[in-house]
Symmetry: C2
DNA sequence: CGTCACCTTGACGAGTCTCAAGTTGTGTGG
DNA sequence: CCACACAACTTGAGACTCGTCAAGGTGACG
């Protein structure tokens, strides 16, 4: 996919009307760069500059690594998501492809400059960032106050938003990421993930027809197990 | 403090020029509400609507609670911070005062509507939300991949941003929140916090002249202990 | 059919939570 | 100014969850 097509996807996703789309594409073009990234690779964006990335196709993860090999997957991002990549913070972040993946990258400052005159667009980008914030907080709650069992159940429910309903009515979720990615996101080890998945299967809450595929047989049971702090009760 | 003064603070913080400030205040006034909140109380904003809160004075925490009493402090916010309070998510959030505190609240949608014509303002709000996102991610890394010792050291360094330099050169940090708040933020128990603080004191990294005050005697030592995943080596 | 990466399962131990007791500090009333 | 009550914090001992290490199983691909 080339830059123009990528920009068109982005413009459409962000809700630009037919008429203004072309104009938007031209305004953004000088500041955009498209990266076609193979599995496990991490494109280098402008170092030290906050970057905004739009996932044109495939899946990606935002990950922080420590020198000693620990990793925290801060978020998974799917086709159509907008990822805010911070510049300076206490930790280093990179975007890493899960499978082959196409990313559209903008330096933050220039993106904002280019669309100053278009508040609708600015709001749309704003909305994406808020989405990211909300999801990050949800995960922070998982990490801070939940047991392994609750985290895994909650994770499956979150992933279910991208799932489809199978013929038997169960929700079928594809997990494009490895167990290691899941563990690095939930703050657990791959062994613990594995044990929890096995538990859920033994209790009949899920089925695992293949490694990457999970069927949610009892979504309510999962929700109970996830123990979300919602207005429950 | 009344609504007008609060709005003026907000307008100034957000970087509005002298000239446009008055205009901005008038545009925002119909959508703003000011809350004077006593210690430990949680103002009710419009239920089910995303709300943006500006901390006019004092300190506040954004917290998610579970029916069984567990709490996760998602973020602490100080005077001048902007807090994005999500509407619908898997967990319920509330803003809770730490000491007496004044909050300026806007329904999200109306705030954006009121300032559509002012991209500079929109960008400033945008920037605040991104700040929140970055801090939330930093905390997610703490929660997911760090030991109790690393978390507490990292927390003190984060709080040090609001600290002042004492006469002996050490950074003096006031912790307006209780140990329970700290533990609910770091995903630990108050006992563990207490033990870690004692450890740090015994090792000479900090001093604790009073309960709420911490002096960072050896910031580099703390940073080492915090083990931030930054470009270190 | 062999190799390899990935996942699963088991046994054990470290780190943190839980429970319980003690200490410090703060405000209140005499 | 002192005595007391109470909340917040500190410290200790034992339990439990999850991490670590090790061995085995499964599926994909040549």
């Amino acid at each position: 996919m080339d830059l123009t097509t990528g920009l068109a996807c982005f413009a459409e996703a962000i809700g630009a009307g037919e008429s203004e789309r072309q104009c938007l594409i031209e305004a953004l073009r000088p500041h955009a760069r498209i990266h076609r990234v193979a599995d496990g690779l991490e494109p280098k964006f402008d170092q030290g500059r906050a970057t905004l990335v739009y996932v044109v196709s495939g899946h990606a993860k935002l990950v922080a690594r420590s020198p000693d090999g620990r990793a925290q997957v801060v978020a998974f991002h799917f086709k159509g998501d907008v990822v805010e990549v911070p510049s300076r913070a206490d930790h280093n972040y990179s975007v890493c492809a899960i499978g082959t993946c196409e990313l559209l990258a903008f330096a933050h400052a220039e993106l904002l400059g280019a669309v100053r005159g278009n508040p609708a667009f600015l709001e749309a980008v704003f909305g994406s960032v808020i989405d990211g914030l909300v999801r990050c907080r949800e995960n922070a709650i998982n990490l801070g106050r939940k047991s392994a069992s609750e985290r895994v159940a909650g994770f499956l429910l979150t992933m279910a938003r991208h799932g489809k309903r199978g013929q038997d009515g169960a929700l079928v979720v594809e997990l494009p990421m490895s167990r290691r990615d899941v563990s690095d996101c939930l703050g657990l080890t791959i062994e613990t993930i594995s044990r929890q998945i096995s538990d859920l299967r033994k209790q009949g809450l899920i089925a695992t027809p293949s490694r990457a595929r999970v069927e949610l047989l009892d979504a309510d049971g999962l929700r109970e197990r996830a123990n979300h702090f919602a207005s429950a009760k």
